[in-house]
Symmetry: C2
């Protein structure tokens, strides 16, 4: 049995943006981007993991906790791993946004046009850099995950790419009650019904509406 | 005291469409468009008005009922009034989608490039055809409404036009848990925060999420 390919806890604005514009070292989520995660920050799921302190329980927290369960590998777009662009520096000191002990605790495949050697972090996370495309990264992630799930972490452009490939089995999107106006579009130009996707569940959380979107037909 | 200019009970999909594609006599809401109103059809508000039968009460119904209260005039885009395009036929028999006794019961201003005489319907609705632009239509609607509200009925293009003019004070949008993939975009290319708009309330209904969006600064 092989696991699912899924998106979880991906925050999106009412007007369809998955991140704000102008990502930078100071603004890893882009301007206004943190607004998309206001539902997540107060949860026990987030606070336990990132601050070592308890947080709120409830519907949002349930979705937050589930988003980290049953995962055997991750795929991230380059821009979700780093603010830098272009070729990596030799012995690049940048090891991601997540400090010494990233929350992944498994293999993480980063899509990039520029080769870089894999490296391991504390807690079981190993970052790999895949230069031969999204399909190749998925194949490696599936192999690494075994019967656990592969999570497509983001950003929006990476999720769009895998949706177009019809490679995502299941998506949990948290729609935050905000408008951004500009940023990284998640839905724009994607005909989800034509790709076989449908919303099958909508659950009101304390600070976001949680949607479950699935691909109806088998791969 | 003058009333508000508002949008109410406007259905939109998760991916931002306010109607389906290919509007026609058979498909007044476009292909898939009725999905945007599945929250509204079972409500007491809808059924009492359109079928003369009681319906479900609850959160969705509350929003449905409020959408029809306190209105003194409406503005509709041409395509929301008729499936025809271009000049009106002489003595055009088309009197809107709503039968002999339309639910408006006040003055309704239809935006069109083509002149047509006003006409009155049973129950107090009078349709006027405004050929000198959205601002002129709004001026006439405000005058007709007095201290009641002007409702911008739609479609999506008409709402977008008035949002760009910053003429809308308050918007109630019902986000249905569906994706359409194609259709009439509501949000695309609109920078709502830059126009002064913000989401100030999100309420979970039985079949949709109800958002209140307001323009923060005075006109």
């Amino acid at each position: 049995m092989t696991g699912k390919v899924r998106v979880s806890a991906f925050g999106v604005s009412v007007d369809g943006f998955g991140a704000g514009p102008d990502q930078s070292l100071e603004n890893p989520l882009g301007r206004g981007g943190p607004l998309l995660h206001h539902w997540f920050f107060p949860t026990d799921a987030f606070r336990t993991q990132h601050l070592g302190q308890p947080g709120e329980t409830g519907v949002d927290d349930e979705f937050g906790k589930r988003s980290m369960q049953g995962l055997g590998a991750w795929i991230l777009g380059r821009n979700m791993f780093a603010h830098s662009r272009g070729p990596w520096a030799e012995d690049d000191a940048w090891k991601g946004w997540w400090g010494d002990e990233p929350p992944y605790r498994c293999d993480v495949f980063v899509l990039t046009h520029h080769p870089r050697p894999s490296f391991a972090m504390k807690g079981g996370t190993t970052f790999h850099f895949v230069t031969n495309g999204a399909a190749a990264a998925l194949e490696r992630a599936r192999a690494a995950a075994g019967d656990l799930d592969v999570r497509i972490g983001g950003g929006a452009a990476t999720i769009r790419q895998y949706l177009r490939m019809r490679a995502i089995d299941e998506m949990h999107v948290a729609v935050s009650p905000v408008v951004l106006g500009v940023g990284e579009p998640l839905w724009a130009g994607l005909d989800l019904p034509a790709l076989g996707y449908d919303v099958v569940e909508s659950t009101a959380g304390e600070r976001a509406t949680h949607l479950k979107i699935v691909r109806k037909d088998p791969r």
